[in-house]
Symmetry: D2
Subunit: 352 residues, 4 copies
């Protein structure tokens, strides 16, 4: 049991993901927001003044009253949640880690570095053991831990039960991603309304590379990427929240839909991961209705941390086809980072 909460800081606290951090951390059982940081022009002002709050729950008054800090490693917080721009994340996040903080980042900058754990706790919690090497090689007392890109998070968790059971060799994935994935103001309404944009810069590469790293094995202090090949088509659709992905999978052997559904339904997180506050009772749910999951209707399962899979059936080209849905700003961003921080505590990197 945690008696005294662990003080945490939020970098990029006024942005879309930063606000989601504030919302999710405001009532967190283990963590307490000790500082909120943002860009220089906001620093020194009250958070409630500078944020354009867009969550549907009210901004907590305690947080509204906090003075926004500059992103300086000296600000209070033993864990640092980072939602800052990729352009500055390299320098800023490293400065925090060097100063002893554990940086749990949603930003892409460090994800693919070989000594940085890229985590989906239900899937590859063992990759966290890259941290000692990271600290040793970089001479840091803190460290950097990353969660994947929003479209990768759903894909990896949704197919992990099948990978663990049968070994995936090939993945075709076409995404239909919500506009909230692009932040605020993000996608212009003239681009979004009644339209599909078949391009999201850098997204296909992220899906293809991050998937292999997360599903890779940790041996001899290094992550060996999974030997699967992914082909991604990423698209923006006029949906507020929720990334829907249609997927075809090829395995090393024949897998029947029934076996696959059984693997999905039998999937559970490792015991200590299942005990984390942000881990849902069912990280993956299979919905047998013929037209589900749907972006708007199935988004909030497991408080946004559950990936819903449906329509599992044979694929004429590979072996199986399916549809999966995940909440892009919870499972795909702030919720994922918070769960990573919980894992850091659970596995003893951060003392209670």
């Amino acid at each position: 049991m945690i008696v005294q909460k662990i003080p945490v800081s939020i970098l990029g606290a006024t942005g879309t993901v930063g606000q989601k951090f504030v919302r999710l951390l405001a009532a967190h059982p283990w963590f307490e927001i000790a500082s909120v940081a943002a860009s220089a022009q906001s620093a020194g002002k009250r958070y409630g003044e500078v944020v354009r709050w867009r969550e549907s729950t009210p901004l907590p008054e305690r947080i509204a009253a906090m003075t926004v800090q500059a992103a300086d490693p000296g600000i209070p917080g033993r864990i640092t949640f980072s939602a800052i721009e990729a352009e500055i994340a390299g320098q800023v996040e490293q400065a925090f880690a060097r100063a002893g903080a554990y940086v749990v980042t949603n930003t892409k900058t460090h994800r693919m570095e070989p000594d940085v754990p890229l985590l989906v706790p239900e899937v590859n919690p063992g990759h966290l053991d890259l941290l000692p090497r990271q600290q040793r090689e970089r001479g840091w007392s803190g460290g950097i831990v990353a969660n994947p890109n929003c479209s990768t998070a759903g894909l990896v968790l949704g197919v992990a039960p099948l990978h663990q059971a049968f070994g995936i060799e090939k993945i075709f994935v076409a995404t239909m991603q919500a506009v909230s994935g692009a932040g605020y103001p993000g996608v212009a309404s003239l681009d979004a309304l009644g339209n599909v944009i078949p391009y999201i810069g850098g997204e296909e590469e992220k899906l293809e590379q991050e998937t292999a790293k997360i599903l890779g094995s940790f041996t001899a202090g290094a992550v060996d990427p999974a030997g699967l090949v992914t082909s991604a088509h990423t698209n923006r659709v006029p949906v507020v929240d929720g990334h829907l992905e249609v997927v075809s999978l090829g395995f090393g052997r024949r897998v029947s839909p029934e076996e696959a559904i059984a693997a999905l339904e039998g999937f559970r997180a490792p015991v200590d991961v299942a005990a984390l506050p942000s881990t849902p009772a069912r990280p993956v749910e299979y919905d047998a209705r013929p037209d589900r999951p749907q972006s708007r209707l199935d988004l909030d399962r497991g408080a946004g941390m559950t990936v819903t899979v449906g329509r599992l059936r044979r694929c004429p080209l590979l072996d199986l086809r399916l549809v999966l849905l995940s909440h892009n700003t919870v499972r795909g961003a702030a919720g994922a980072a918070i769960q990573n921080a919980e894992l850091l505590v659970q596995r003893g990197y951060v003392a209670r």
Copy 2:
């Protein structure tokens, strides 16, 4: 030159596709609407009274004043455009063909029958030569000619230049289809707004089967389906008109993006097909901008008869990937049928 226009009839004239027929035929250089037919409860009334006109151009007054007929083979019209329900299409369309009419149908019922031409005139006009066999075997003086399902129409035309040049063996396709494809009232707004529905009944099968038939070869009086395998994921998105499809293609040999783009840009319809009133100057256009085609912006090229292709690039799993867009109620329905009727005239099945 056609001096006197050919009288045509429209079955299912009050529905969504029926209205599009009316709109497109109202100013057609070769055809003249001679009768409009609909269900028994509309028969006998003025078309303008019973139709809930939803096209953005005004309902032509001459058509509004016409008396709606029952779908009886005796109604005037040498060519019959059919947009009736699949449940009754078998019986009704055959009755018209038996009575000597050329039925150009948008309904799925007869598409996959071995003696029925399933046409995209720029791609497989030679399949029209199934007609004599159809007439002989069925003992009809008229005949039935079909256009493909809306999502197939765009796929087939968009990849035909590549198939002709390089031979496609594998197709992975994920569609993002407009709600107009489901007719009116069709998809409920509570299902469509801010949502993706990853299921359209029967659509994946149509895409997989029709594609092989249309791209097949006509030899010895029969169509030999192309030996390609298609895996389709079909989805409904909150877009009014326009089916966007993301596609991966595998060929028998290595094909570079540059070769493929050259094949797309060099594609032209056969000379007599290019001369049809509904054939656009460029049946396939390649758009090199990185984020195109987009559903809302690129829909109306070639008066809705052009398929736009973009984002041609390598595929990690197969050979090439691309995006294509087609107008589902024009190229994918009424426009396609009218172009088929023009081909019937051009190739002498229907006398001018």
Copy 3:
């Protein structure tokens, strides 16, 4: 305190509002669903089989397993929540009331009858005292209590503080109503996407008549309608949930924006109404931000039972202008009916 929950039944339990009743009553502190009724073709089957569940929370298993009943007054339940079609509501609801049940209806049929209380509990709880007269005159042991139409519910509650403080004489209201107000399938997506429909059948009359009744005074056993005149323009917009209304108000005397805001902020429900489980802490909230309330962002305040008011400013024609937002399927339908039922218990019409 309520030790044993009161058994209730739901008529029209499979429809949109019926499902909302199931969701809201499943965890209600006072009520317990004892029977679910629907049309003849559903009767006899399991609720989980026949309902097309569209709420975002899972269908409770206990309810899913219940056998659907026909709408017969003999089914278990001391309070009957009605969400049945207006065409049959007259006969069915009266049969239940005659048989001794208290019918709390969301259907329009009985709303404007002089002996039927049309209630917004925070505004006119005293109108409940029409019930004894209703029972006496109709010879019923039960009775019928109605909540207003969804667009009326928000208008009346949002302006009630101003009416109580200053006396409203004139209301100009233009609504922008969500598609969920039309039920399922309701509005076709081809009508809703990227469109506004400036017409909702019967809605303007309801707004104009119901408002006067609810804001009327109860004297000598009858409701004397308020002497105000309302002009309504009702519109359907592509929003899933939430009716936004822009309102101009004329009073008998000059009222400043500051006075009006103070009246809104000072408004509280009568003490016994405030104690009802469904009454929010703040039935009316004033949001001072210049561009609020917004349909999607401010909908869920007070679990959907709070009306948010904003943009209070002078009107060049009448006295004041404002914007208000209410949740049409909670405050405007199922939530309202449940709150009415709570009032029936609180005021002793239904024994605990």
Copy 4:
């Protein structure tokens, strides 16, 4: 007849309205684009390179090849269409007028100045006679002519027939405005999707003030604003193009719906205005269907220059109620300015 086209320039040619100018002027019978001007960072480059073309028709090649100019009065063009930012419009537009150009502006900056004609040619073409005074007093050889704000344009033209026939004293108007009115990128998709924003900065004031000026009378060299009072509620809805407005009107005398409809249907532009290329055959159309006009369906009448009016009925508070729709980027912006320029030619201010 115009033998040689009049050379015109476009200021702000790369923006949303600027692109619409390019599209509409590319095939104009009287005008020819002689120069396109934009901000300093675009100047010197080819238009096709710097514009992010978003019209659905292709960018004309001749224009794509033009070199973008700085907004300098020396650039070719006897008429200057202005779509520049309001912040710089004062200085830039005046410089052009001083240098002898006729500036036809869509920008708000000069609209309410007493010597600037604010025109809807079908309604107040006589206000153009402010120009000689403007030239005399300001010492200019050119001049500035403005069209109204997009929401004003539809309101004024839609109610002008009623004002001319019966004299309007009071106007209530609530608008539901498309996102294209805010330009590009304009409204964020997270604000627009499934939402209504009940606030558009400055819009209500523009509607209230411009309406009185345009409907005012021109006497003794000045415009005397109409003595009517307008109360506006302006809202942004998730619609791409088309401003829908619900309106209540008060007259000095009783006016029946039948009289009003007759006035709307009998309305015609003055003869020389009717002869302008951009004036539609019917500037105002009355649609008697109960649920029309609708934003998406009725937008393009008269090539976007016709205002559609519907639902004319009694108002319980004022005299009559109605709904009107206009195309905000054609009748409300670029189309309006081009029609104004045509009037300048027709009435001899600009020589053919």
